[in-house]
Symmetry: C2
Subunit: 189 residues, 2 copies
């Protein structure tokens, strides 16, 4: 097997493990069985351990992958939707995805024994993506200029925190973020 082929093969098994880990962790939480993740990915335990030296490295990678996907969605959204819809749809996605994966994020931020978490860089990515959407929507005159991204992100985090542990976390958090984005004023017809 040539080196090129080896690399492509390794990348494929890395991607499969990441996807399987996302699915299994969403269901079983951050303590999900690594063997089941390997089984779901169709790789051996040795392969999993070659890619991810510890459970924390795997959780880190799954989380970073989710953040990257959410940020990629911001860019896609921006080119395809009117500015306010791009912002609100993205904030909804961020809220619901975070509510779904709250257990994962919480365990990572609290539990990692070596204190090495990717919180900062993930937070910066989300902030960058959100700020671009907000700036666009304000520039288009569709969103209040005094709506600050930091406050919107704090609200998302408050909502996610409050629905933690509920079996209807995703649905409840969607209802709440909709209320935040719409406000309570009756719309003039």
């Amino acid at each position: 097997m040539g080196k090129q082929l080896m690399r492509a093969d390794a990348q494929r098994s890395y991607d499969r493990i990441l996807e399987a880990a996302g699915t299994v962790i969403a269901h079983d939480g951050a303590n999900a069985s690594l063997e089941e993740i390997a089984r779901t990915a169709g790789v051996g335990s040795a392969t999993l351990h070659r890619h991810f030296a510890s459970r924390w490295d795997l959780l880190d990678a799954v989380f970073a992958d989710r953040v990257d996907k959410i940020c990629a969605e911001a860019e896609r959204s921006m080119t395809r939707k009117p500015p306010e819809a791009a912002l609100t749809d993205w904030l909804r996605l961020l809220t619901v995805e975070s509510a779904r994966n709250r257990g994962l994020a919480a365990s990572m931020f609290r539990g990692r024994p070596d204190d090495r978490v990717s919180d900062d860089s993930c937070h910066a990515k989300i902030q960058g993506a959100g700020q671009l959407l907000l700036t666009n929507a304000v520039a288009a005159g569709e969103v209040r200029p005094d709506a600050a991204l930091a406050d919107l992100l704090r609200l998302v985090s408050a909502i996610v925190l409050s629905t933690d542990g509920s079996s209807s976390a995703a649905a409840d958090s969607a209802t709440m973020i909709d209320l935040v984005l719409e406000g309570i004023h009756a719309r003039t017809q």
Copy 2:
């Protein structure tokens, strides 16, 4: 001293203790010194213990008193302000007061050894007051008919929970509830 006079005197010291407890607990939290509360109220420890057999009875009374004041404010607000302002001003008051006294409420709900908390009746009072304000504001056509009180109260609670422990809890929660109530849409001029 006649019986009538005794009763009025007891009521006054009860009220003074409640007020002092509110002040001291807001500053020191639910583990505040009972002696300092008695001192602030200008009564002896014996008098305090005659009125409140345990720390929990005192916390209970302070909490119930706050809830009653917040509910009384709803009634006052309703007769003096336009319907939407009455609702939004009251939700702001509820949020900021809860953020200020979160430590108290949290200790009561979590920590009370005999599990006897006044959560249910307090929650019902707040709900009754809020529903009246919301119904009025919707009937006046000022607030969206699909804004549910339960979701508004969940947001208040999410905001309060998320600012817990911060020294700027009251200010931060005020900023967030304003954003919720206003929504992010630019107002048409």
